[in-house]
Symmetry: C2
Subunit: 187 residues, 2 copies
């Protein structure tokens, strides 16, 4: 299953067998059932997760107890509460399985060690970080677009395979509309 | 004025005089007047801008012609239309001076060259990219927080010196409320 990680990294930087052997030894394999939590709000966040298989939702629960979906993650995506992971604070988000999920976990010390040892891995993470930043900024811009229908359409165009797998109630929570509003949209 | 860039980079990675001399030679100095554009929607985006002095607004104009503020940038911040810069597409945002502004410009080829030559500069940009990503994600989460008053309060706490300088009408456009709504809030 670590081959999947290698293929993923090699889309950006090539690795020798020895390099990948060493790099992959830092990752821990974990398996979760649907509805299980990888991160719970208030806990420490030791890991960044590379998704091998399955589907996750990153959730923010506001003071009124309402759940909002910050993002989804499926095969070959990285996900965690990045602020808590990177700044070593408590989680303000939770990360929960929408499907049975398998992940490879990387802790912060090992991440830093790997970056020091392999500048090309730092290059890989920089590309990923930029893509993450651009996606987050596009999400902010999308929320400024007039019309939920247009926003829904953008989402389908951007992540066609994701949309197939995410229950409509969660898509509604991601878009910030009610389930009823979403089902009235024919895109 | 390039000393400011050195101090900024050295908060994350140390540089020798020779290294900085070489690195700084890739940056171009430019000066703009209030209301001038660094980036106009639809144009190519050759540069990432390091702000030496002044204040910028990054603006998204939706189909109905309404202006939304994606972000601000002042001294020691980096700003551009990152999607257009990084993916070499046309700008979907504009970047405009709120105050007279001086910047150091870095084009994408030079950025890539510098990263290849100086792995520690890649480390610097990775730190910056993570911070940018975390800030963008915090902005998404903040929009899920109930109550504009709470969101305004968070903004003041996070960027006290910025808030002093940004006209109230622009703060309203950033928060997505009318100028009148904003002035009714006493935080």
């Amino acid at each position: 299953m670590k081959d999947q990680l290698r293929t993923h990294i090699e889309k950006i930087v090539p690795l020798s067998d020895e390099e990948f052997e060493h790099i992959s030894s830092f990752f821990i394999y974990k398996k979760y059932k649907k509805h299980q939590f990888l991160i719970q709000e208030g806990d420490a966040v030791p890991y960044n997760y590379f998704v091998l298989k399955g589907l996750l939702k990153l959730v923010y629960t506001n003071d009124a107890g309402k759940e909002h979906i910050v993002g989804f993650a499926m095969e070959d995506w990285w996900e965690t509460d990045f602020q808590a992971y990177y700044k070593e604070t408590k989680a303000s988000l939770s990360l929960e399985c929408v499907e049975d999920t398998e992940v490879l976990c990387l802790n912060l010390d090992d991440y830093r060690k790997l970056c020091r040892e392999f500048p090309k891995l730092e290059h890989f993470f920089l590309e990923k970080a930029y893509m993450g930043f651009i996606s987050a900024q596009q999400r902010i811009i999308s929320s400024m677009t007039d019309g939920i229908k247009e926003r829904y359409k953008q989402l389908i165009e951007k992540y066609p395979s994701l949309i197939q797998r995410v229950p409509k109630s969660l898509l509604a929570a991601y878009l910030g509309v009610s389930r009823e509003t979403l089902s009235r949209l024919s895109v």
